[in-house]
Structure formats: C-alpha cells, structure tokens
C-alpha cells in the first residue's frame, strides 16, 4: 500500500508543481473561485423562491446523482473498462511484485479522491442550501464516504479481479446490471401511466418505495432517504440490506484470490484510451476501442502536384463505409426537421421563420468545436511539405473536401427546415452558400490559430483564440448582411454577407498558406 500511495502522492505533488508554473492554472483557479462564490448564492435564491430548500430536496438531488453514476460505474467495472491505467502503469506496475488487488486500488484512488471532493461539495451545499442537521451530516459522511466507497471499491475489485467469474460470469453480471436499470425504467413507465409527466410526478417517482426496493442502486437511494427524509419501514429495511451487501462484497473482495488476469484487458483499455486521447488532442473524432474499417476502392489520379492530395483523400473516403457522411449529417437532418416543425407550427414565431436557418447555422459555426478531418492530418505529414507545389495550392487541395462536406452539411440543415417553413428556394440556396463560406473561414481560422499560438497556448487557450477570430468573422459577415438588408430584402442581405465572407476567406487562406511554408508551424 505504501508503494502505490507514494507513487500517487509524488505524481500529484509533481503535477501541482508543474501546474503552478503555468499562467493558465491561475485563470482556471479564478474561474473556479468565481463559480464557487456565485453558484451557491444564486442557487440559494433560486431554491428558496421555488421552495426546494429542504433536506427532502437534497434527497431528490442525490437520488438523481446515484441514478446517473452508480449503474454506469457497475457496468463499466463488469466490462473491465471502468479503471484508467496509463501506459506507464502497464510498464512499471503490472510486472512489479505488487498485489494485483493493490494495482486495482491504485487506479481506484483517483476515483476515491474525486468522490471525496464531490462528497464535501454536496455536504457544504446540504448545509448551506438544504438546511440539513448535524446528525444528518454525520450519517451522510458514514453512508457516502465510508459505506459507499467500501461497497463500490469492493465491487470494483470483485468484478475486475474475480478470475473464477470467467467471461460468461462477467456477461451475466453485465446482464443483471442492465436488468436493474430496466427495473427503474419499468417503474418510471408505471409512474408515468399513473401520474403523467410533471415535475411533481418525477419527484414522486424518485421518492417512491419501488425505486428504493431495486437491489443495490435502489438500496443506496433508500439509505439516502432514511437520512434526509426520516425513517419508513422500506428505507430502514433497504438500508440494512445495503450495509449487509456492502460488508459481504468487502469480505469476498478481501478473501478472493487474484493473480492479475485482468491486466490484459486493462492494458488494451490503456492503449485504446491513449490513442483516443491523442486523437482528441489533435482535434480528430474517434471512438474508444473502435478501429475504422476500410473497404476496397480505386481512384484515377488526374493532374499533378498538390492535386494528388485531393485524389488521395477521395480514395480514403471511398474506402470508408459511409463515404464522408457520419452521424453528424443525420443529426443535422434531424435538427433541421425538428426546428422546421417547432417554428412552423407556432403562429407566434411566424415573423422569425426566415431567420431560423441563418441563426442555427451561425450557432453551429460559432459554438460547435471544430473537428480536424483529413486535412488536419495532411498538414502534419512531412510529405505535404515536401510536395513540389505552392503552399496555397497544398492548403487548397488538402481542404477542398472539407468545403464539399460543408456544402452537404449546409444542405442537410437548410433544405428540410426550409421546405417545412416554406422559405423561398433562393433563400435556402443562399443560406447554404453562406454556411460554406462561414465553415471555410472557421477552417482557415483553425490553421491560423495553430500556426500563430499553437506552441504557446493550451487547448482551451487555442479554442478561446479561435472563438475570438471566429466572432470577428461573423461580426464582419453580419455587417455585410446589414448593408445588404438596407439595400433590399433578405436575399440581398445574404449576398452582402457572402461577398464579404468570400473576401475574408480568401484573405485568411492566403495568410494561412503563408504560415505553412515550414512544417514547424504546423506542429
């Protein structure tokens, strides 16, 4: 235990030492302090106004948290995917003479520490916002800090480390966990049939005896109810069951043998997670443990120089299962239909219908984080820099497919919504063109941001910088639209905006190409 505790302590200590040298840490700290000061006071006013400031309301909040976290944790432990090991853990811990159970506890230490911090935040909120009493504080600490940690830690050790359970046994545990979730869903459905859907019916459901009778998760909720809402026959019985169950799993976890069979799964998860982390850092999309499958395809290369990048990307897209379409395209279509019906059926919003599409597009461009597609990889490849062509052409052909994707995405947003809202065809077409321009600006902004501040700012800093540039672009575009609106109607506003955005895009692209004379600026 001393070994893993020292490792944990040193890692945290050095991490803090490193963090205090970075200016961004103080920015985050100021932000946290600001929220820590503002949220409780604003919440207090809000909760008092809606008379939601009793210990019973604390039970409601806590029940929701348990619903949210505990079943998901149990399922991930049973799948041996709940604990995060780094590659360094695999290298040093897995082959060292440390008990595999201790290695599990080491990974769980991070969860425990976060859990303790969250627990004390809840406790402070309980005292300040929900007026809980001293004995409730003590009981809360006993149940949440001691018994819950004991139960969750023991279950984690059991589900990860129980070699006797085997693959089939683990699948049964996963199945049982889903059954528990299904029990909550069935109870919710019954409650809906009886009481309909309202805030009161949801609260009634969360406090119902049925919920508290569901094994493990419900028992924990029962214990919380006993503390904050007073004793009932049901919550006393389930609390006793919860304590017995916690002790039982603790004894099993303590006694059972564990030789480290889970290392293989943990190692695989560590590799997958590291891959995912690196991809996300590079702004790419990826799914944990899922490798993209490629089919067979061919392209005929036409032209030379940087144009080869365009055809290479075409070949990659042709090999992909859905070309360059993904779930985002479907979400956009769904969102477009939803907005179309929402605004199309509400007579109060009739005058706003023409502005729905541009507003949604502006929101997507401004608020959704930019995912680097294939072009991002091109700009990090040495071959891109070695190709005998001009930087402008390289940037253009590396990003050309992104403009095509923006065009398709623009159609997905504008066309269904436009048809439902009966927006004129010209307006729909112009909105698609405007969207392509805005996305192009965003793309070249990303390139510029990477080249200008990529080495000095962290991810958050880069995003803020990019948002600043993007808001400038949207601002300039809006000015063009206002001028166009003053001259004529909404169509001229679109044209004004498009003209301005095309000019800005071209300027940004030229500047971005200038930044990519050397590979150094892309790293």
């Amino acid at each position: 235990m001393a070994t893993i505790w020292n490792l944990y302590k040193r890692t945290v200590r050095n991490g803090i030492k490193r963090a205090i040298k970075k200016p961004i840490t103080y920015f985050y700290l100021a932000l946290i302090l600001f929220y820590a000061f503002c949220i409780p006071f604003s919440m207090k006013v809000l909760l008092e106004e809606f008379r939601l400031n009793t210990p019973a309301d604390m039970a409601t909040v806590f029940t929701l948290v348990v619903f949210w976290l505990l079943p998901a944790n149990l399922i991930s432990y049973a799948k041996r995917k709940g604990l995060l090991y780094k590659n360094a853990d695999v290298h040093f811990l897995f082959s060292a003479p440390i008990s595999p159970k201790m290695v599990l506890i080491y990974a769980h230490l991070r969860n425990i520490v976060v859990g303790i911090v969250v627990c004390f935040i809840f406790l402070a909120s309980g005292i300040f916002l929900f007026h809980i009493t001293a004995w409730q504080v003590l009981a809360y600490i006993a149940v949440v800090l001691i018994i819950d940690n004991l139960m969750e830690g023991s279950l984690m050790v059991m589900l990860y480390g129980a070699e006797w359970l085997g693959e089939k046994g683990r699948k049964i545990v996963i199945g049982v966990s889903y059954l528990l979730l299904a029990a909550f869903v069935v109870l919710a459905f019954i409650a809906y049939l009886q009481d309909g859907l309202s805030l009161e019916s949801v609260v009634k459901y969360l406090h119902s005896d049925g919920v508290q009778c569901v094994p493990i998760v419900g028992w924990y909720i029962g214990a919380i109810h006993l503390i904050f809402m007073g004793p009932t026959t049901v919550n006393i019985v389930v609390t006793v069951l919860f304590v017995i169950f916690s002790l039982l799993v603790f004894v099993i976890a303590w006694k059972m043998p564990c030789s480290g069979d889970y290392y293989e799964d943990a190692m695989k998860f560590a590799e997958d997670y590291e891959e995912l982390r690196l991809k996300k850092l590079e702004g790419q999309t990826a799914r944990l443990g899922k490798k993209e499958k490629y089919g067979k395809a061919q392209v005929v290369y036409k032209g030379g120089g940087a144009k080869a990048i365009f055809y290479k990307q075409l070949l990659e897209y042709k090999k992909s299962k859905f070309f360059f379409f993904d779930t985002t395209t479907l979400i956009m279509v769904g969102l477009s239909i939803f907005l179309g019906y929402t605004f199309g059926t509400d007579p109060d919003t009739e005058s706003l219908r023409e502005f729905v599409i541009p507003a949604v597009m502006a929101y997507i461009v401004f608020c959704m984080s930019s995912v680097q597609g294939k072009w991002g990889k091109e700009l990090k490849s040495p071959y891109t820099f070695l190709l005998p062509d001009t930087p402008f052409r390289k940037l253009w052909y590396a990003t050309l497919w992104e403009h095509v994707k923006s065009f398709i995405c623009g159609i997905a947003i504008a066309v269904p919504c436009g048809i439902i809202l009966k927006v004129p065809v010209l307006q729909i077409a112009l909105s698609v063109v405007a969207y392509v321009c805005l996305m192009a600006c965003k793309l070249y902004n990303t390139v510029m941001t990477e080249a200008l501040v990529g080495r000095t700012l962290g991810n958050m800093g880069k995003q803020l910088f990019q948002m600043m540039l993007q808001s400038l672009v949207i601002g300039v575009g809006v000015m063009g639209a206002v001028v166009g609106m003053m001259i004529g109607a909404i169509e001229t506003a679109y044209i004004g905006m498009i003209v301005i955005l095309v000019l800005v895009t071209f300027g940004l692209m030229t500047a971005a190409a200038g930044c990519f004379q050397r590979m150094e600026s892309a790293e």
Partner: protein, 242 residues
C-alpha cells in the same frame, strides 16, 4: 532459471502461441528469434504476466504470476512508457520501493552514469526522448538486482554507446548467474551474447540451438536455414509487435 511449459496464447480465435516449451538455465543468455508475427511478443508478455495464457511459466521454480516470482524478475518492454510527472530518479526510487530492494546512492548513481543519465536524473518523464526512456527502463530493471531478466528488443532506440554498455551489462549479469532472455530482430547485436537460441515461426519453436552444439556456425545462417525466408528479417529491421 526460466521455464516455459506448454504455453498457449490466443487472441480471440487467433492462435498466437501454440503449446511452446523451452528453458533458459541459470546464468545463461537465451535469444528469442523469429519473423514478424511469430509470437515472440506474446511469449514475452505472458512471461511478464501481462496477458492471460494457458500453460506454465516458472521463474526460479516459482509460478510466474506470484509475488515471490515477480520479486526476482525484471522486464524491459519494447516500448518504454514513463510517468509524465515523475523524474528519472523518482522512477528508480519507486521501483526500489515496489521491489523492496535496497540500493545505495552510489550504486544508483553508478548505474545512471553507465547509461549517461546522471545529469538527467531530475528530468521529468515527459521531458525524455525515446532513447532516454529506454535507458531509464533498463536502469529500473537492473537496479532491482533480478535473478531473471527479460529484454524485449532492448537495442531499439539506443545510441551506439548505450548498445555497447548494454551488451557489457548483459555479460556481467551472466557472470553473476542471472538468467537473461532477449527477444530481438537484430542478429548482429546479439551474436557475441547468446548461449541458447529459440527460433520461432507461426507460434511454434521450430529450432533450438545451443552455442556448444553449433560451434562456429553463424547465428544468421542458422536462422535462415530453418525459416528459409531471408526477406523476413533484417540485421537492424523493425521490431515485432503482437
């Protein structure tokens, strides 16, 4: 002594290692040779207890997954990974505590000096190059004074001085009675080290040679005789990963 008995390793339905047995006696250097995908890495990971397997691994006569066996065993993985927030020295301190081995400051500094890490002991894990990480990994394995040591492609990423030092270290370990198993593609790098060589192909050991048995015959010639595929291996070729 390192004993592998009827080791079988499957990844889903793929059979990576099929009922392999071999033994490296005390104070001898064993070499695991084979083309890409032969199953070397699976054997190495099984011995290190990183993957599930069927069969038996014994380290100094002890079952491989027991704490007692792990205490006398050290492992240098093919791709080293450091804790970002720990310094080189803190990695060594951690390993000493984990293995409950005592080492004087002079011993540690001498070891770091041998691998040109003495002036880098305060560098954090995320400040090290791949070659330096490999050196730290080797130092961590050596500092616990193991009786059995497993080196997976240990020369990859090392500079010529470090390769020379590592070879000297391996011969020293042998003279101290330590059992060494090296998995490598680089025949040239191990030709003066080996006592026994196991040639693998498609999950099987297809040839076992001891130095006494083959006399002056070249290790490279032996390898190509049994595998008959000279294009599969190069003297400084890429490493094998499973």
């Amino acid at each position: 002594m390192l004993e592998i008995m009827n080791l079988t390793k499957k990844y889903g339905k793929t059979l990576a290692v099929d009922n392999v047995s071999f033994l490296v006696p005390d104070g001898e250097i064993g070499i695991l040779l084979g083309p890409n995908g032969a199953g070397k890495s699976s054997i190495i990971k099984s011995i290190a207890g990183l993957v599930r397997y069927d069969g038996q691994v014994k380290i100094q006569g002890l079952p491989g997954k027991t704490i007692a066996a792990k205490k006398v065993f050290a492992y240098v993985p093919e791709i080293p990974a450091m804790y970002d927030a720990l310094t080189v020295r803190e990695h060594i301190d951690f390993i000493l505590q984990a293995y409950q081995v005592a080492a004087t400051n002079e011993e540690i500094e001498r070891l770091l000096e041998r691998f040109e890490l003495l002036d880098k002991q305060d560098k954090l894990g995320n400040e090290l190059s791949k070659g330096m990480m490999q050196k730290v990994s080797i130092c961590c394995a050596l500092v616990v004074k193991p009786q059995v040591i497993l080196l997976d492609e240990p020369m990859v990423g090392l500079d010529p001085a470090a390769i020379k030092e590592l070879k000297a270290v391996v011969l020293e370990l042998k003279s101290q009675g330590v059992t060494v198993l090296i998995s490598t593609h680089m025949l040239e790098m191990v030709k003066e080290l080996w006592d026994v060589t196991f040639v693998m192909e498609k999950g099987h050991i297809i040839g076992t040679y001891s130095k006494d048995m083959v006399g002056a015959e070249n290790l490279e010639d032996l390898f190509f005789q049994v595998t008959s595929r000279p294009e599969d291996i190069s003297q400084d070729g890429p490493s094998d990963t499973q």
